[in-house]
Amino acid sequence: MNPVVRWFHQLGSPPTFDRFAARWTPWCHGVALVLLGLGMWQALFVVPADYQQGDSFRILYIHVPAAWMSLLVFGLMAFYAAIALVWRIKLCEILAMACAPIGAAFTLITLATGSIWGKPMWGTWWDWDPRLTTELVLLFLYLGVMGLYGAIDDRRAAARAAGLLAIVGVALLPVIRYSVVWWNSLHQGQTIRMFGESSMDASMMLPLWLMVVATKFWFAGSLLARARADNLRRESGRDWVLRQAGAAP
């Protein structure tokens, strides 16, 4: 068998995944923190202030990576869920469900930073901007998946049901986005959109890319940590878990 395929199969075994996650989580978080530090230093101190918005635009360096992650994680969650539904691989069920809280957190950060960014511009903490409104609906989707997963007793059936919801959500997300944009154009007319696609100077891009990569590593570390916890919880009582916890089986 192809060594890569064999590695995937082995990874699916709970003790092997536990070791893999325990080993790589600190590295992922470590790299993320370094990149985060670099990116934030660049964003706050190195990059010059925007001629239109002054210093308040700097929050985009958190807002944009968080927004991208909120969407990416949802897609990844649906991807794992699809594999779990079709091939019934338990590890993919665990990974899919572990994605949900992390994605929800990124969505909350997006909403909060978007709101903070907007206050100096709009004068209010909220504006029914199409992007923020879509993020709000996305938050509901995440909360729905988490709520459904928590409400069913049988863990595997719960993961499959919540996974199916995630797949439905990812299919509907473009429709939701399009409908919100249409709704916005219908009711708000030609308001100047502040989160416009203004072209950014190359010097302003570096911190953005640093933050984007940092959030990816952070996500990977958190995903492994959460998946490891769920894995241990599901397997509690087994010999290998007892041995690891120090209790003799």
């Binding site: 019934r88 599901r234 397997e235």
Partner: protein, 214 residues
Amino acid sequence: MTDTPPATSPLLAARGLGFTRNDEPVFGPLDLCVDAGEALLVQGDNGTGKTTLLRVLAGLLRADQGEVEIDGVTAGAMQRARAIAYLGHLPALKADLGAMENLQFLCGLHGRRPRQLPGNALAIVGLAGHEDTLARQLSAGQKKRLSLARLWLSPAPLWLLDEPYANLDLEGIELVNRMVGAHLRAGGAALVTTHGAYAAPPVRTRLLTLGATA
């Protein structure tokens, strides 16, 4: 009359069938087979997985390991649906509909054996005269008999009966045995679970006991 061994493959065969729930094994790797004209009696105490086994065989649950074959071929969903009639714990009767109306719906759903009518079936199970009685007004035993009437009308050759004797008096128990006997003589097969000391159908029976082995 000598018993010739069946030349065709068994009506239902399972190999290495296992099911787990919440990572606890409900029943371990099992092998079983039922030929046409045979009954398989599944015995075991409460909690040994009899109901789960029947639900896996019926297709309501997916087995974690092993295969189920119908007529020697690995069963697809439609094939299984056509071959199996399942009588579970819940009677699948609408409380607001009459006995005849319930049967008419269930026949529309599952199909009907040729030359059998809902009216006949009601008479056979002892519910003649109750055609228009609403299901909510029937006693537990009468509801069971109505389910048996639905079973009688089903065209499926394989009956999976989960605790068919529950809620029935002695006369009802004999009715079940008579029905199973007639069904087997017509070339069908039946899988019956029971945990009580009820009489088993007086036909060629195999025995499967769950929970005896680890």
